[in-house]
Symmetry: C2
Subunit: 452 residues, 2 copies
């Protein structure tokens, strides 16, 4: 089969696009993208050529831009180009030149795919085609492998990821060269030896030949790996989806995970990782989250956007912005709960054993007045209670003014409530309705230990 036929077969087998779809081709002017243009032409696809000038190689950059413009003219297809001050963008955003170029490139392509202006030229392209080939993918796999990876890195690039389509991933570099020669194609050479290119070249020119001393078939073996690893990823994802279905309970903005069920799930490390990575946690935090399973209620691990909070028999994943409304549940048998300000220790006593103390960090509550579970939460506007010693209710906001609390102190106040009544403004004053009396039999003693 010719390269053209295999190109068309690969596109149809992988459902990359249909013959009528307008395409956007990312063309640097190098041999790979020049071959991609010619194949699209020969296959009869309609396409636009887009070229990025990263302004990193002086006159060479201009030469490439002119070359690609001429190419588009020869094919009589629309041509788009954009110049970037890549170095400045990299510095401003603290990126490597390669990362900066990638980000600039793909965000411009995304812009084109959505752009209304294009439609004056031709139909809006439905996919962005890049000229990555099989040798690129072997190198990608090797680089991921030695940088450390899971299944997603191992299987390299896929023929379709979102809008980005890579219809040359089936072909070896050598085959593209032969096609270019056979079709008398002209292309430009990139003299760049920027870091990313350099490590690719190192793998290509140093590492693979070294391995071939021992396994002459190494390159073909790696090609086989890519196919197997893509299958492996599918099975991995299937099993993972089942675990997630069993474990995750979606409650508004929060996700609740039953700890007992999670602990029984195997392999725990991978399952935890796959769940938490979606909300900004890193692989390094997996161990912390696993430790959380056995720790006190109220402890949490945090990412830039989310908290994972241990709350009794549940792990709760909640957006950080919802922190204000965070509520901890305290069941009747709870002995200790950790929250933002410190920890509460709960003890049940016979009233005969109780010594009255005058310490705002200790609350003594008539247990018969309580309805479990209790809720521990930040105070909010509108909250009121019956301060101990008063027979009428008072807004907390008012109470804080009377107590001369500072603004920042006020912000930190938590309350404990039972059946929607506040029984303790934690560390400040209990509610009169919950105090112990002569007829009290069982006492709940709650002691606050502040964070030191």
């Amino acid at each position: 089969m010719s390269l053209l036929q295999r190109f068309q077969q690969y596109i149809s087998e992988n459902h990359l696009f249909s013959s009528g779809d307008p395409l956007l081709l990312a063309v640097s002017g190098g041999i790979d993208s020049v071959v991609l243009c010619e194949l699209c032409k020969q296959a009869g696809y309609s396409f636009i050529i887009a070229h990025c000038n990263f302004k990193l190689r002086g006159a060479e950059s201009e030469r490439d831009a002119d070359f690609v413009q001429q190419l588009a003219q020869n094919y009589q297809v629309p041509f788009l180009k954009k110049e970037f001050d890549t170095a400045a963008f990299a510095e401003k955003n603290k990126l490597s030149i390669q990362e900066a170029a990638r980000e600039l490139r793909y965000s411009w392509f995304e812009e084109i795919l959505k752009s209304e202006n294009i439609s004056a030229l031709c139909p809006l392209p439905s996919a962005l085609l890049t000229a990555h080939h099989l040798d690129d993918n072997i190198e990608t796999m090797l680089m991921h492998f030695f940088r450390g990876t899971g299944i997603h890195g191992l299987r390299g690039m896929l023929p379709r990821q979102g809008h980005v389509v890579r219809p040359l991933l089936f072909a070896r570099k050598q085959e593209l060269k032969q096609f270019a020669t056979a079709n008398n194609l002209a292309w430009v050479e990139d003299s760049s030896n920027a870091l990313d290119k350099y490590s690719r070249n190192y793998f290509r020119n140093q590492l693979i030949p070294l391995v071939q001393h021992i396994y002459p078939e190494a390159e073909n073996n790696l090609v086989g790996n890519l196919r197997r690893f893509a299958d492996m990823e599918q099975l991995y994802e299937q099993a993972l989806a089942l675990h997630k279905k069993k474990l995750l309970e979606f409650k508004g903005e929060e996700v609740h995970i039953p700890i007992l069920k999670l602990q029984k799930s195997e392999p725990l490390h991978a399952i935890v990782y796959e769940i938490i990575k979606e909300v900004g946690f890193s692989a390094a935090q997996v161990e912390e989250v696993i430790k959380l399973l056995g720790s006190e209620s109220g402890r949490y691990v945090q990412s830039a956007t989310h908290r994972i909070i241990k709350n009794r028999r549940w792990l709760i994943i909640a957006p950080v912005k919802a922190e204000q409304s965070q509520t901890l549940v305290i069941d009747a048998d709870e002995e200790r709960i950790v929250f933002e300000n410190g920890a509460l220790a709960l003890t049940q006593l016979k009233s005969t054993n109780v010594q009255l103390v005058n310490d705002p960090a200790i609350a003594l509550i008539d247990k018969s007045t309580l309805q479990f579970p209790l809720l521990l939460r930040k105070w909010k506007k509108g909250d009121y209670f019956y301060p101990l010693g008063l027979k009428k209710k008072k807004k907390l906001a008012r109470f804080f003014i009377d107590q001369k609390l500072s603004m920042t102190d006020k912000e930190k106040v938590w309350v404990l409530e039972s059946n929607k009544k506040i029984l303790w403004v934690v560390g400040q004053r209990i509610d009169d309705r919950f105090k112990i009396t002569d007829s009290t039999k069982q006492v709940l003693r709650i002691q606050l230990t502040n964070n030191s």
Copy 2:
């Protein structure tokens, strides 16, 4: 934590064995196995030392055997050794020296684990311990990776596989060296540079340092890979088990797979591979089996022990010995079926369109006499039919004698039956009860094409 503590932790976390279990230690006398002995001693385990003398390195082999014997004496533990003529065994069984040594070694160890004689010395050991460490496992993973592998090769060795336990897999080579030095241990050096050792050394001394030019953390990254890949394998196996449960129907010695369901299963290639590899098929045969899904009934792919046969809407995996009893099902709408001797083409005709022919390769049957499905199978002892033109039944064995069939011809004869009556001794004679008559309306014409 000291190496000893980590050793004990690794054993307990992975449930490798309990402190009272008697152990069999495979000891070459090299630094790794010497450290393993000392760790087992310090941890208070009871063990036997076993040493293989492969007689491959002349005087050095004897030196090693003596050294290990002395080691056992120092530890006052039972010592077992065995000498092998490895070179002869390799030649006889067409194995490489390394493969031969591995087979001899593990089959002797298995023998010891089951042996009654040992119990005179001490309790029967419950596990065989080898001294493979983390660097060995990195090399194993790298070798598999470049030879081409799936998930099972990728995750390297496991701490327990059957009776074989590898309690040093957590430790780097460097740590074993430090332990050996700190404990004043003596060991012997192996000057062998046999092929397997050579490729390991090549990876250790050439490839990893090369990669470290680019990724200085490469070794640690590979250690991380090993842990992630073991998790990945578990998820892979979970998903696979579900697919198998859905797809495989066990019928006696056969496994039946509904083709429609299989075709809808993703990823098809991996699922087919994992099903067929268990019955002796190679990865290279996966494509053939996938082709089988769309081919004619009766086609098959074969391994040393099994056949996978396409039979209408089913793939049937059957042991090759069951071949004689192979039965192909022919439904009313079947137009062509392939079997051992060739193919049958089935056509339905109005009786008015039928031309009588005198060709034993063509059967003309009164369709109203048939009950579908028909069965196509080899003839067997006890079979009888009513040969066309005779009004009484005849045993096939007798019929073949009358027809002067040779022994080998007889063995190849197949019959076609309807409702347990033979309607055609294929290629020989039809049954009188199924012939077309004046009152026949619909005719089934069956034509045999022999394998050329």
